[in-house]
Subunit: 246 residues, 2 copies
């Protein structure tokens, strides 16, 4: 069974990005694409693109690059064509409400089929039916929902998280500032309640941004002052560039 490869998260992310680019190229009438093009669009090098494709066994043509149609199909085969991408939204406050009307989702075939809240009557109307959170489990089971968005206040995060796991949710997009983890060292393969979690920590991202900028600014001013800066033991006063991230 040669179809089984190690697919880690960053690889999957790249594959999905390739898919998106392919969709756009296709809509523009393109037929073939080079590793080069995809690399530029996704922000990686061409070698990574080719390696990714060779890893999942999708072949290109030595001269003509990759055929967009077959490449798209192959990617879909590896990632699994998801007919139904229904999600529930738990927590219908401001962020939650904004997500309910987020038109970007529809483009990707993702649909928020229901919202849940402690006080459904407080939620802003948006076309998505809002239910009391007590009905979460039954709804999830009845509609075979696998993925949920968590957007409750910080204080409720862990309790609601547990409730979602109990309800049978397998993947959570977490907008809470609480860094959720699957319960104690959960071993994905054996744990029946295992859950894949994607943390979107907006406040943290912003804070990081401030610090990165700040650090960079300090590095620049040191450079302008002509100060000698130490890089891991060796002295350098020219190449400030190596001092930070990327």
């Amino acid at each position: 069974m040669p179809g089984s490869i190690e697919l880690n998260k960053s690889l999957v992310t790249r594959l999905v990005k390739y898919q998106r680019v392919l969709r756009k190229l296709k809509s523009l009438g393109f037929v073939q694409v080079f590793s080069n093009n995809l690399a530029d669009a996704v922000g990686v090098t061409a070698a990574v693109v080719r390696k990714d494709f060779s890893l999942i066994n999708v072949p290109g043509n030595k001269r003509g690059g990759y055929n967009i149609d077959t490449l798209t199909q192959d990617l879909a085969g590896v990632l699994g064509t998801q007919g139904d991408k229904s999600v529930v939204l738990v927590g219908c406050g401001r962020i939650g409400s904004a997500l309910m009307s987020y038109t970007e989702f529809a483009k990707e075939g993702i649909r928020i089929v229901a919202g849940f809240d402690l006080h459904p009557e407080h939620a802003r109307a948006s076309g998505v039916p809002i239910h009391p959170i007590t009905e979460l489990a039954s709804f999830v089971r009845e509609h075979n929902i696998e993925v949920g968005i968590l957007a409750v206040p910080e204080g409720a995060a862990t309790a609601v998280f547990e409730a979602m796991i109990d309800a049978g949710i397998r993947g959570i997009l977490n907008f809470t500032s609480v860094e959720l983890k699957c319960h104690g060292n959960c071993d994905r393969s054996k744990c029946p309640r295992h859950c894949t979690i994607s943390n979107v920590n907006i406040g943290l991202e912003l804070e990081n941004l401030f610090y990165l900028i700040n650090i960079e600014t300090r590095a620049r001013s040191r450079l302008q002052l002509g100060e000698v800066v130490m890089f891991g033991g060796s002295l350098a006063d020219t190449d400030i560039d190596t001092e930070e991230d990327e």
Copy 2:
């Protein structure tokens, strides 16, 4: 000048997380903390925590761990104590409006001081003044704003992005589905218009979640069927666990 270390993005992220945990511990009356505790809270190993601290030259006590107060100060010193964390928000649609009333920001000392939109009159009231986008540059210069949140529709993304750079914004939290990059191979050290970008791609995150779950489900079912699964060349039918991410 021993204070100059390579601070990459993931290190900065961890340092900020440590800070947050320390703040909470402090408020609970704790005085000292072990690498162990921080590791658990942040989701890394204790070795990473110790290595991080030794990297930025903050010492602990062989027996008593780290003093929370001095550790907090040292971290602040490395990251740079940011008095003012004012940001502007560009694009006051649904996501933007939700962010304007996002109470989490205040806790971190982050404040959205103004919103900008093509049609300020359409924006929902939220206490934050909304200006026409034409006034962005003058506002940013006048108030020395360094960081901006980008939450415009996909079609406007790149144009508004350029406008923000022109206005002097140095860091952008991008909620657009367009993966922004600083213009062509920008070399951070030399480029006066360099900008640090943090992409928050909600749709992509959700899609990834679906695929990760799907891949995992397939792996599980293969396991249950007793099928022999290939791992990078060697055969194994027991340890499905190594087949995926983390």
